[in-house]
């Protein structure tokens, strides 16, 4: 810090209502933060305008294509989802436990905690609105039925959780919980 040199010592006019104003030098580190920030602004602005620094939209586009490639790779690795696999998962206790957890937080508000249906249809009867095959249910959860208010859960939950929850749904069908919503759709 610079010494307290008072350049106004002789200048009586730098006194206001008894407040004396000294005139110390600007601290060097402070000046460096000022000039440094200005230099940063200069380089960032032109880096940005001339395309050397990516915009949030450009970064996003790269992320999305990387994501798509990774998703495709994972999909290839796990193979196609088929009825048999889903049916097998529907008997696997570990999957069911995870599926139940997803069901409780994500599905229960509309399909009731026990699957009996409130806003959405009863999942414990034998009637289905949009197909009863395991792959139909999988598609309905992943892609939703927007016209009927069933949200598209695929992007938010990810394929694995969708599988888990479909497995759980398969495990509760035809259990006909008491007090469920009346049947809707076609008999399976």
């Amino acid at each position: 810090m610079s010494t307290d040199e008072n350049r106004h010592e002789k200048d009586e006019s730098h006194v206001y209502d008894g407040i004396v104003e000294h005139d110390n030098e600007l601290p060097l580190w402070w000046q460096l933060t000022l000039y440094g920030a200005v230099a940063f602004a200069f380089f960032y602005w032109f880096g940005h305008r001339l395309g050397a620094i990516a915009t949030p939209g450009q970064v996003y586009a790269v992320e999305v294509s990387a994501q798509r490639a990774a998703d495709a790779e994972r999909a290839r690795a796990r193979g196609a989802v088929d009825d048999a696999t889903l049916a097998t998962l529907g008997r696997d206790p570990a999957t069911l436990a995870q599926g139940k957890q997803v069901f409780t937080t994500t599905c229960a508000p509309c399909h009731r905690a026990d699957g009996g249906g409130v806003i959405g249809p009863n999942l414990t009867d034998a009637y289905w609105l949009h197909g009863s095959k395991p792959t139909d249910i999988f598609a309905n959860v992943r892609d939703g039925v927007p016209a009927k208010g069933m949200p598209t859960w695929g992007p938010q939950l990810g394929v694995e959780r969708v599988e888990d929850v479909v497995a759980y749904v398969l495990s509760i069908r035809n259990t006909n919980v008491p007090g469920g919503k009346p049947p809707q759709g076609e008999l399976e």
Binding site: S13, Y16, D17, G18, L26, W30, Y60, I119, W153, P155
Partner: protein
């Protein structure tokens, strides 16, 4: 207290035997404003504590008038405009009279200012809980109150500049510079941002829509922080801190540089509230780089405050006034370091929409504004009431410690909460899926922090009550006393520097050259502007060196001459402040980017427009954004990034700034109508663990469709392309859409639903979000339905 005449020392060689004049200051106006500030401060913070409680414990919402969405604007308006506003007026009136050695010229204007401002506050306290709002943060008050604010502000300006005109002190002290900047800038900000078309008594639509409204709003919002909460309080610091410390101000040249750089740079920084949104990229980048450049100018003020305490630190330990000032200035430094940090796009990507921002503003408001206010009051009140000292120094010390711990508890809990939730939103598992797909999970993770914040805020409020008691006892023990002084009024003998010397001074020429070059950059292409920018930098550096070399010690410095001419000073301040606003706002307001004019953009149907008004009335935007940023973790949760076209007809825009609940930009069609119906009646029935207030009265209150067409006409006058036949069919269309939704709700088990109830209109709006309207042409659709 009697101010001495020692301070008056006209410039050497100029003094001519002058007349001696006795001045009695108008200190009663200061007493009134101090009292009002303390009372409103307690009220505003009490409302803040209620809002904090509501976030932690939803049962504290008392619909319809005391729900979080109506309480939060009441809290922000009360603490900004009532608590800090009154404190600033008190400080400005007290210090200005003494710094320029002139009494306020008009006691009548002072009374109009005081009572006008209190009436505005009362009007705000009544209208905001009733749901009258323009839906723009910190500018919620409806148009008649906006006009009243403008009028009272002009009264204040007249009083202030009239005082300067009658001054007996030639040069303006740095505190006065900050007051000038405050008065002119707040007027410009308030008027430009509040421009709206009234529909009826207490309802209006912003003349700006979508991204334009967003840009104007945050130009205003950010600079309300700058010019209402910062510059006047810096001026107050420059008067009261050296007074209380009895120490000289550290550096005059630092105050010159940090004043001009602060007011010039601040105004550009608004778009940092809109980083990573659909706002055009050049504006975001400007907002970011100017925010980074704001760091040093802000710290200039902190340095001048803290270094003025050099040699008085022993006193800081014992004097509560100095304790508050030292801590207040330190919190200012902390908040103004955090601000530039949060303005970096990547940091903002984590922090935006979270509690980190809430913590940031509260370190500024509680730490800087609240503590500077406390220090000033503790110093002022004994002097205003002819007392040697405070009623209790111990109580003031206790206030300091409980306030400090309250702030720390508040700020730390918000840091933890904001960063935790921000990280949870973006967490993805090995499969690339969201770790926490359910938004409520991320809310419940930070619930304990909401309780911590409530405790911190309550401690601060207890401190305020201790201060009110202490000040009241001090005042009651004394008797109102007005300050007096004797001044020698100089007879002016050609002491005015010629105006040409100021106008054509080298700093002005240099700034003009650089500004013209920089402005040219805006209209040429990127490569050429890099070349121009290089010339700007070279010209600025060489010019600064030339100014230094040409500096003639025998002549008064240019800035010193400027300080002697209040009118020129004000004019230059206006130019410095307007530069950034014009450069950022004018291109955006004149040119609508082509991607905002997509053919997909269609105005809302009549009932959707009514629903939107309800959304604004309930303050939904305070917890729900409508702006999906281009991050994969965000698009997985909410859908594709928002575009400019989607909000182009939104007057006001509803992008929001905080996500206590999820983003709603693409809510339309996500859930069935009945989901929304149940969600409004009892949010926890469909979203367990939510902290949203219930809105049961929406089922019984009716929308007044008699006003719908007026609203559509008002919308058309601000540029929404409703055709005459759309407006004519407006009411009928609203009834048809209402009947459809009501029927659907009945079919899905909602029981009897009135097609004109507010819930139906709100559902119509929510289902429209992110959706293109079903009928291409509402009028034709209505006609086909009517067949």
């Amino acid at each position: 207290m009697t101010a001495s005449a020692e301070g008056i020392a006209p410039e050497a060689g100029r003094r001519v035997d002058g007349e001696t004049r006795r001045i009695v200051y108008n200190d009663s106006i200061t007493r009134w404003f101090v009292g009002a500030s303390v009372i409103w401060g307690i009220v505003g913070m009490l409302v803040g504590v209620l809002a904090a409680l509501q976030l932690a414990f939803w049962q504290a919402n008392l619909p319809p008038y005391l729900t979080y969405g109506r309480i939060r604007p009441l809290h922000t308006n009360a603490v900004i405009f009532a608590f800090v506003g009154n404190m600033v007026f008190a400080g400005i009136y007290y210090s200005t009279q003494r710094l320029v050695k002139a009494r306020l010229p008009s006691d009548l204007l002072a009374r109009i200012h005081f009572w006008g401002w209190q009436l505005i506050i009362v009007a705000a306290a009544v209208t905001l809980p009733l749901g009258f709002t323009q839906g723009k943060e910190y500018a919620e008050l409806e148009w008649p109150i906006d006009i009243a604010i403008a009028v009272v502000w002009v009264v204040f300006a007249i009083q202030f500049f009239w005082t300067l005109a009658r001054r007996a002190e030639k040069h303006l002290y740095v505190a006065i510079w900050f007051y000038i900047a405050t008065i002119v800038t707040v007027a410009v900000l308030h008027i430009v941002n509040s421009l709206s078309i009234p529909v009826f008594g207490l309802k209006s639509y912003s003349i700006y829509g979508g991204a334009k409204d967003a840009l104007v709003q945050w130009w205003y919002g950010h600079n309300a922080v700058a010019f209402f909460l910062t510059t006047p309080v810096l001026g107050i610091m420059y008067y009261f801190l050296p007074k209380a410390a009895d120490r000289p101000v550290y550096s005059y040249r630092l105050s010159v540089i940090h004043f001009w750089s602060l007011i010039f740079v601040y105004i550009w920084a608004g778009p940092h509230h809109l980083l990573n949104t659909a706002l055009p990229d050049w504006a975001q980048t400007l907002g970011m780089v100017f925010s980074v450049m704001l760091w040093a100018p802000s710290w200039g003020g902190m340095l001048n405050g803290l270094l003025t305490l050099k040699g008085a630190w022993g006193k800081v330990r014992t004097d509560p006034v100095l304790k508050f000032f030292a801590a207040g200035v330190t919190f200012y430094g902390m908040a103004t370091f955090e601000g530039p940090l949060l303005s970096i796009k990547s940091v903002n990507g984590l922090a935006h929409y979270t509690d980190w921002i809430i913590g940031h503003v509260h370190s500024g408001t509680l730490g800087w504004n609240g503590f500077m206010a406390a220090g000033m009051f503790y110093w002022l009140v004994p002097r205003l009431f002819g007392r040697e000292q405070l009623w209790s120094k111990k109580l003031a010390d206790a206030h300091f410690w409980i306030g400090t711990f309250g702030i720390l508890l508040y700020v730390v809990s918000m840091w933890v909460s904001g960063i935790t939730q921000g990280l949870m939103w973006r967490a993805t598992d090995a499969q690339g899926a969201l770790e926490y797909p359910n938004f409520v999970e991320t809310l419940n993770a930070i619930r304990p922090m909401y309780w911590m914040r409530l405790i911190g805020g309550s401690m601060y409020l207890v401190g305020m009550l201790m201060m009110a008691f202490n000040l009241a006892r001090t005042a009651l023990a004394g008797k109102a006393v007005d300050g007096e002084t004797t001044v020698v009024v100089e007879r002016v003998e050609a002491t005015e520097p010629p105006w040409a010397e100021i106008l054509f001074g080298t700093p002005v020429i240099l700034v003009t050259v650089v500004a013209v070059l920089a402005a040219t950059m805006a209209v040429v292409n990127n490569e050429a502007s890099l070349f121009l920018a290089t010339i700007v930098v070279v010209a600025a550096i060489l010019g600064t060196i030339a100014v230094h070399l040409a500096y003639d010690r025998t002549r008064p410095k240019w800035h010193r001459m400027l300080e002697g001419r209040a009118l020129f000073f004000t004019a230059f301040t206006v130019i410095a402040v307007l530069a950034g606003g014009v450069a950022e706002l004018v291109p955006s307001l004149l040119v609508t980017p082509t991607d905002a004019m997509s053919a997909e953009a269609k105005p809302y149907r009549a009932l959707e427009l009514e629903g939107r008004d309800l959304y604004v009335r309930e303050g939904c935007y305070l917890c729900h954004s409508q702006m999906i940023r281009p991050f994969t973790f965000e698009t997985k949760r909410y859908g594709d990034p928002s575009t400019l076209a989607e909000s182009v007809y939104d007057h006001p825009f509803q992008w929001g700034s905080k996500r206590t609940g999820p983003d709603l930009a693409r809510e339309g069609g996500k859930y069935p109508n009945i989901w929304h119906y149940r969600h409004m009646v009892d949010p926890r029935s469909v979203s367990p663990g939510s902290n949203m207030p219930p809105f049961p009265y929406l089922l019984t209150d009716k929308v007044d469709l008699g006003r719908t067409q007026d609203k559509m006409r008002a919308m058309r006058s601000v540029g929404v392309p409703y055709e005459a036949r759309d407006i004519e069919a407006g009411r009928h269309d609203a009834e048809v859409q209402g009947a459809e939704i009501a029927k659907n709700l009945r079919d899905d088990g909602a029981g009897q639903v009135d097609p004109q109830s507010e819930i139906v209109a709100l559902v119509a709006y929510l289902q429209r979000l992110g959706k293109h309207p079903e009928p291409e042409n509402p009028a034709a659709h209505v006609a086909s339905l009517a067949k």
